[in-house]
């Protein structure tokens, strides 16, 4: 089996708080949304104030997520039926590449991510330090997280270290940045939540440098109610390992 990779690169401060306008216009922020009508509008407005290209992938929501998103000024791609977060992210990535995006950021629709963290994701890519920025709440900060969720996330990190041989500090963080070149090498096939592990394998194998960026995640009562159940972890591990075995 492959050697465990050394600790991933980590970006260390010194990032300007904002990006030049010419760069901001080349960033596409992909926001997957499934029944997030209550939260997604505010999230989009906050992102759009700074990054004009916001793509919401409405994953067959049963609520008004799509209308809210369009009204808030996002370009909305609609999955006719629910296909899962992994599928939605890949849809957004394909679209952004088609639209000529130079930088692609993935961002949650439940209000857990901060717009202020985006420059730190793009900066190392812009400066040619690496092509893929993986957000880490354990290098940055996390508000209001339940101990059980923290424990589970730590298990995910350990699992990744053992099974994927990649040493990073937060494997299940949806806040990530890609260069165009890197995004073209990402092909998520695990439609649901197991895509996070698949993605890390692709990041490891894509032949481009990557690194971790400290970010801040805030759990709110809303996001905790909507978020993942801990028992979902079994399903995720099963989907991922099944894919690894059958190819």
């Amino acid at each position: 089996m492959a050697q465990v990779q050394p600790n991933a690169n980590v970006s260390s401060g010194g990032v300007p708080p904002s990006l030049p306008e010419s760069v901001r216009e080349e960033v596409f922020v992909i926001i997957p949304a499934y029944n997030e009508g209550e939260a997604v509008g505010a999230v989009i407005e906050e992102v759009r104030a700074i990054y004009p290209n916001v793509v919401v992938v409405d994953d067959g929501s049963k609520d008004h997520s799509a209308d809210v998103s369009a009204k808030a000024g996002a370009l909305v791609l609609r999955h006719a039926i629910n296909r899962g977060q992994g599928a939605a992210l890949q849809t957004g990535i394909d679209f952004a590449i088609e639209q000529g995006a130079k930088y692609i950021v993935t961002f949650d629709s439940d209000g857990q991510h901060r717009v202020e963290d985006i420059p730190a994701l793009i900066d190392p890519i812009l400066n040619g330090r690496w092509d893929i920025s993986l957000g880490s709440r354990f290098l940055g900060g996390v508000e209001n997280i339940k101990p059980s969720r923290k424990f589970l996330l730590r298990l995910g990190v350990l699992f990744t270290r053992i099974v994927s041989r990649v040493r990073i500090t937060d494997t299940h963080n949806g806040l990530r940045g890609f260069s165009r070149k890197a995004a073209k090498r990402i092909h998520i096939t695990l439609d649901r939540m197991a895509h996070a592990s698949e993605l890390i394998d692709q990041v490891r194998d894509c032949g481009l440098p990557y690194g971790e960026v400290p970010v801040h995640i805030r759990y709110t009562d809303y996001s905790k109610a909507k978020g993942q159940r801990s028992t979902g972890a079994f399903k995720i591990v099963f989907h991922y390992l099944f894919k690894r075995m059958t190819g």
């Binding site: 799509a66 996002a74 439609d191």
Partner: protein, 125 residues
């Protein structure tokens, strides 16, 4: 031959002929045809010569031939289940590709108006 054999053997022979035919013509998946062909052939042999299963069972330490047949049935049940699961996954993946294609070709912005993506900023002439 007893009545049970009279009923089941012709059916099995027909199934085997059909599978062989598929295999020879090369239509459909050869692996799947082989899988089912072997199952039907095994069943036919076991029904035609029931004593054979008993002696095979005895040689591996199982007392009754019927038990051996039962174990095989369960085993093949699992294999069949696995094959269907794999196929379901593939169907799922294809469905996603279809849903994705439709989504990308029909981007929507502002109050549900469809827009040409390349002209997203210039739609109000």
């Amino acid at each position: 031959m007893n009545a049970f054999q009279w009923i089941t053997l012709p059916i099995l022979v027909l199934l085997i002929v059909e599978r062989t035919w598929t295999l020879l013509r090369g239509s459909g998946s050869r692996r799947v045809a082989l899988f089912w062909g072997l199952i039907w052939a095994g069943a036919a042999v076991a029904i035609a010569w029931p004593d054979l299963t008993t002696s095979i069972a005895a040689s591996v330490g199982i007392s009754r031939g019927a038990d051996l047949a039962m174990y095989f049935a369960i085993l093949f049940g699992f294999v069949g289940f696995f094959m269907i699961y794999v196929r379901m996954r593939r169907l799922d993946a294809n469905l996603t590709l279809l849903v994705r294609r439709i989504a990308i070709e029909n981007p929507v912005h502002l109050d549900g108006q469809p827009s040409q993506p390349s002209r997203a900023n210039a739609s109000h002439e």
